[in-house]
Symmetry: C2
Subunit: 313 residues, 2 copies
C-alpha cells in the first residue's frame, strides 16, 4: 500500500450511499444521474495553505471549510447539494492529519446527504480543491435584481474578520470568532427556500460591499444601503464595546451569509422563511436604477467607502 492509498482508504469510508451515484470512487470516472427536470449546478473552489488558511488551522477545519465554501455557492444558486469531488494535494500522507481532515469534510457532507464520488490525491504543497454538484430547477443568479428590490442579508456578518484578527495574534484567541471563520454554516436551506422568490442572490465570500457590487454589476443597477442596518452579532458588538465597526463588517468576507434581493411584494414571505428556518433576515437597503453603490449613515448622510472592495464595480 502506497502512502496515497492511505488517503484513498480513509476517503472511501463515507457512509452515505446515494442511489443517483451509479459508479463512485474507484473507476476512471464517477457516473452520476441527474434527476429529470433538474439542471446541474457546479461550483469549484480551492483553498491553499498560507493563502486561504494559516498553517495553524486544524485539519478538521480545513476539511469542513473546503466543503462549506462550495456548498455556500450552491446555496446562493438555490441548488440542492448532491455530490462532491476532492483533489487533495499534500507533502506526505500523514494518517492523523488525513483522518481529522476527512472527519471535518464528512461532518458537513453527511449533514446534507452529500456523497464524495471521486477526485485525486497527489504529493505537493498543501492545497484542497473541491467541486460541489447540486440540482436546481430555477436557479438564483446575480443578474436578476431590479430597481426598487429590497436588499437582504442573512444572519450577521463581520465575525469571520475578527476570527482572522484572532488568528493573526492581534487579539488573542477568540474561539467564537475563529469558529465562525473556520466552520461557516452554508445557508443551503435558505437558498432552497429563496429559489422561487429572490430576484438575485450571492454568498458573501469577498465581503458584502464587493459581493453586492457583483449583483449590481451583473444586474446593471445600483444600490443604496443604510450602513448601521447591516446585521452584526452580539459578540461583534461586544468586541467593539457596543460601537461596532460596520465598515469592517462589510469590507471583509468569509462569512458565507447570503445577500439577496426581492420584490417588495414578497416581504411577508421573507418573514415566514425567517421564522420557519430560524434565520435572521435583515433588510439593509434598496436596489436603484443608478450605476453606483451608496452607503448612508443614520442621518441620511452619504458615506465615502469607495476604497473598500469596489475592485469589480
Amino acid at each position: 500500500m502506497t502512502e496515497f492509498d492511505l488517503i484513498y482508504k480513509l476517503i472511501n469510508t463515507q457512509s452515505i450511499n446515494r442511489k443517483d451515484v451509479l459508479t463512485g470512487i474507484g473507476d476512471d470516472c464517477a457516473i452520476l444521474s441527474v434527476p429529470e427536470g433538474y439542471s446541474l449546478a457546479v461550483s469549484m473552489d480551492t483553498l491553499v495553505e498560507g493563502v486561504h488558511f494559516p498553517e495553524s488551522v486544524s485539519a478538521f477545519s480545513i476539511g469542513y471549510k473546503s466543503l462549506a465554501v462550495n456548498l455556500s455557492d450552491l446555496a446562493s444558486t438555490g441548488a440542492k447539494p448532491a455530490w462532491v469531488t476532492l483533489s487533495l494535494t499534500m507533502p506526505s500522507a500523514d494518517e492523523r492529519w488525513i483522518t481529522e481532515f476527512v472527519k471535518g469534510l464528512f461532518a458537513l457532507a453527511n449533514k446534507y446527504n452529500v456523497q464524495l464520488v471521486g477526485g485525486d490525491t497527489c504529493s505537493g504543497p498543501l492545497s484542497v480543491t473541491i467541486q460541489a454538484h447540486g440540482f436546481v430547477k430555477k436557479s438564483l443568479l446575480r443578474s436578476g435584481a431590479k430597481p426598487g428590490d429590497l436588499i437582504f442579508i442573512s444572519g450577521s456578518i463581520g465575525d469571520a474578520s475578527l476570527g482572522l484578527h484572532s488568528y493573526n495574534g492581534k487579539d488573542g484567541i477568540h474561539k467564537y470568532f475563529i469558529d465562525k471563520l473556520n466552520q461557516p454554516e452554508p445557508r443551503v436551506d435558505l437558498g432552497l427556500a429563496l429559489a422561487e422568490i429572490a430576484t438575485s442572490c450571492i454568498d458573501i465570500s469577498d465581503g458584502f460591499i464587493s459581493d453586492l457590487g457583483h449583483i449590481c454589476e451583473q444586474s446593471r443597477c445600483g444600490a443604496e444601503v443604510k450602513l448601521n442596518d447591516v446585521p452584526v452579532s452580539v459578540d461583534y458588538k461586544k468586541y467593539f464595546n457596543d460601537q461596532p465597526d460596520y465598515t469592517n463588517a462589510i469590507s471583509f468576507g468569509d462569512d458565507y451569509e447570503l445577500c439577496f434581493t426581492i420584490g417588495s411584494k414578497n416581504i411577508i414571505k421573507i418573514s415566514d422563511i425567517s421564522k420557519s428556518l430560524n434565520i435572521q433576515l435583515t433588510c439593509v437597503g434598496e436596489i436603484t436604477d443608478s450605476n453606483t453603490l451608496k452607503f448612508f449613515d443614520d442621518n441620511h448622510k452619504e458615506l465615502n467607502l469607495s476604497n473598500k472592495g469596489f475592485e469589480h464595480f
Copy 2:
C-alpha cells in the same frame, strides 16, 4: 483590475458556446443541462509543478495535458466530453504564461467541443486541477472483464517514458518522445466506439502492468500477456536499436492509450473500429479465471515481473 482578474479575462475568451450551458463563467455556480437518457461522467485530476511536470515544461503543454488526462478518463468510460472546470493556482499572474496555458487548454477543448464553464484562480504554488464532464449511456468500467476475454491496447506505449528520460537529460532532447509525454491524444472517439462492445476499459496512465492489474482486481480475474506482443512505436524500437525494452514500456505510464477487453466473438468489430478510426488495436493476451497477472516470452516461458507496478494487485 487585480492580477487574478487577468486570468479570468483570458480564460473567458473561449469561442465555444454550448447550448447545454445555461449559465457559464461569472456566477457562483455554472448551471448545466445533461441530455435526457444520459448519465453524467466526471473525472478530476491535478497536475502539480515539480511532481507531474518539471519546471521547464511549456505553459502550452501544461494547459493541453491537464485537460488531456481528464478527457482520457472520459474516453476510458466511453463518455462524450462536454464541459470542464479549472482551478489554476499560480505564484503570480504572468500574462504571457497564462496566455500560452489557455492556448494549450483551448487547443484540445475546442477540438472536442468542450466548454470551460467555471472554476477558481488563486495565488500559491503552481498547480492545475481540472474536472471534465461527459455524457454516457452505457459506461465502460474496470469491473466487467471475464475469463476468455481478449486484452487489447490502442496505439503504442512506452514513448512517454522516453520523453521523461529526455527531460531528465539522460538522452538529450528527443522532441518526438517529449511531445508524446506532454501532449498525449486522449482516445475519445475510440472510447465512444468501444462503449457497446468492450467488457472493461481503463486508460494507461499508471503503466500497462499496473492498469491491467486494476482491471483484474476489479473484475476479480487474472490475465496472461505475451510481452513481445505489446505494441511499441517505430521510434521506440529505433531508440533501442530494434531490441525494444518491453518491460520499460509496460511499467511506465503517461501514454494515455486505452487498455480494454472484449469477448472473442467481437474481434471482427474491433478490426472495423481500428480501420474506421485509423488507430492500431493490438491483442496482447487473455483474461483468465486465476487471480494472477502473468507475462510470457515468445517461447511461452513465464517472466518474473512481479516487482513492476503490482502495488494494487
